[in-house]
Amino acid sequence: MDEGRRGVLRILGKGSVAAAFLMQLAAAARAFVPNVLYEPLRRFKLRKPGDYPQGVTFDADHRLFVVRQDDDFHVISAVCTHLGCTVQWKLDRKTFDCPCHGSRFQADGTNVSGPAPRPLSCFAVAASPDGYLEVNTAEEVARDFRFVATKGRA
């Protein structure tokens, strides 16, 4: 018998069994990366612009703040950039305070004290065709972003 040929076949035989074993391990590991996420939508409607009072309004369902100045709107995330607790609006100081580790942000979201490494995120705001504010949390915008509601809609 040809030893070389036998050797190759032996490696192929054992190798394919070992490879199948390793592939199955990889397949089992892959199952743990979810393909479908049953999480809240990143893009959703809020109330109509006219329904918001002047100043800062907390939206508990979406963990964000809707800020209205006259007819200018912007949306600031309520998720602390340090470790993800929900910040609270302190009306007397005009700051966002984080209860977990004491981070503090100015009204425009700039981090001023505590461990937070970044400003709070601002999200894109637009009007939906039927006249509601529509927020897309997948799209972050600059801090001076403003959505101007037209008089008719507001």
Partner: protein, 435 residues
């Protein structure tokens, strides 16, 4: 013949087919018994003493046994679903007979296990019992401590109350700060971007199966290594003082899964004889103390469970962070660190989540793992409490331990709303309704 002696003989006749008549036969009896063969047939009296080891490792193992049993019983009543988890906790507390006792005991044993395991580590450090061949077991011990902490952390989410939800929010966001793999690690841990059903189920399976299995396997290896490294380091001063020459390797057999391998076992090569007066049979000298430690530990957890209820806050509410939100006490020192270690250098900001949550504990862990290989003190320091030569080392260890405990105390008793500093007797400002 007294009645007692008569009963003893009857019992013997019922349970033993034969009685040992010599020392050798008595040793043999221990090796041949299903339960007793876990122990060496003889132990040095010093390593079985209360004052050397304080029996802390046994106490930790006893706590783990209590956790296994109470945890298994709790599994009959707990449902790992976002909708029902919290309400099954309420049921365990109010609707199941002695359910509160099971849960309290599980919780107290868990808290104690973290503490006792750390104190056991301190004992091993102070007695220099990690040196030489025992370095490997020291590393296994560190992994066991980490597994214990992971078990506590995964168990923390299961009640699905406010405490659980926010402690795990903070914890998993610390994981995100790990360089390169952080975001992926958090995504896989949570089974998504947010803490939800997938997270609860993953933590549940990790808590009730994967981590206990890892702990059991490592524990078995830990104990096997203690045997193969020549027992507790307590025996080392004894072996040195007896100044006996090593025994010539005697022919012996090693049983492996591949059959019998002739040769000489590690133990016959490594050990020297200690005198007969230094040792005693492990049954009953070891087994009696083992039973006592277990009963003592069991009763401590039982008493604590009767006196103090495990807390259960409101149901988890992702929209409302409690103020202040505190991690479990053994992670509070990390929370204190992540709250105060954010560094700003010009335009570069390094989050405290990375420095306090990953870097500092990581360095401490590496230091602990490398210590046996850095320790250059003499062999005579092995198995001795606080030897003069290792005074500095022991002081360093104590300093780190004291710092950790101090941080825990500060964040437990001196931190109020928004992580502000408050004296324990100082009233917290009423939290104005801000929402």
């Amino acid at each position: 013949m007294s009645l007692r002696e008569y009963l003893r003989q009857r019992w013997r006749a019922m349970t033993w087919s034969w009685a040992p008549e010599t020392e050798l036969e008595a040793s043999d009896a221990i090796v041949r018994n299903l339960w007793l063969h876990w122990f060496p047939n003889k132990v040095t009296l010093r390593s079985a003493s209360w004052s050397y080891s304080l029996w802390l490792g046994t106490a930790a193992a006893s706590l783990f046994v209590i956790l296994l049993v109470t945890g298994m019983l709790l599994m009959f009543f707990y449902v790992p679903s976002v909708q029902t988890a919290y309400w099954s906790m309420k049921d365990i507390r109010f609707a199941v007979h002695f359910g509160f006792l099971l849960r309290n005991q599980h919780r107290w044993a868990a808290h104690l296990m973290v503490g006792v395991t750390f104190v056991h580590m301190a004992r091993v450090f102070y007695t220099g019992a990690y040196r030489g061949a025992r370095a490997l077991n020291w590393l296994v011990g560190i992994v066991l401590l980490l597994t214990t902490l992971l078990l506590s952390f995964t168990g923390y989410l299961l009640p699905w109350d406010q405490l659980a939800y926010w402690a795990v929010t903070v914890g998993t966001n610390i994981a995100r700060e790990a360089p390169l793999v952080g975001t992926t690690l958090r995504f896989l841990l949570l089974g998504g971007n947010e803490i939800g059903q997938a997270t609860l189920l993953r933590f549940y399976v990790l808590h009730v199966f994967v981590l206990p299995a890892i702990l059991l396997i490592l524990f078995a290896y830990h104990m096997w290594r203690v045997r193969k490294d020549g027992g507790l380091a307590a025996a080392e001063p004894l072996r040195r003082s007896r100044r006996l020459t090593p025994t010539a390797p005697s022919p012996s057999k090693t049983y492996s899964i591949f059959g019998v391998r002739p040769g000489a076992t590690l133990q016959t090569l490594a050990t020297t004889h200690v005198e007969e007066t230094d040792v005693a049979f492990s049954s009953p000298e070891l087994t009696r103390r083992l039973t006592l430690v277990f009963l003592l530990v069991f009763n401590v957890t039982l008493l604590l469970s009767i006196m103090f209820d495990a807390p259960l806050e409101e149901a988890a509410n992702p929209n409302l962070t409690p103020n202040p939100a505190k991690a479990p006490w053994y992670f509070l020192w990390l929370q204190e660190l992540v709250a105060s270690t954010t560094i700003r250098l010009g335009h570069v900001t390094i989050s405290g989540g990375f420095i306090g949550g990953i870097l500092i504990p990581g360095i401490l862990l590496l230091l602990a793992a490398a210590w046996p290989f850095l320790d250059r003190s003499a062999n005579s320091t092995e198995g001795v409490w606080w030897p003069r030569e290792r005074l500095l080392q022991n002081l360093v260890f104590t300093a780190v331990a004291v710092a950790i405990v101090a941080l825990i105390i500060v964040s437990l008793y001196f931190r109020g709303p928004s992580w502000g500093f408050y004296w324990p007797w100082q009233a917290w400002p009423p939290s104005p309704a801000t929402l």
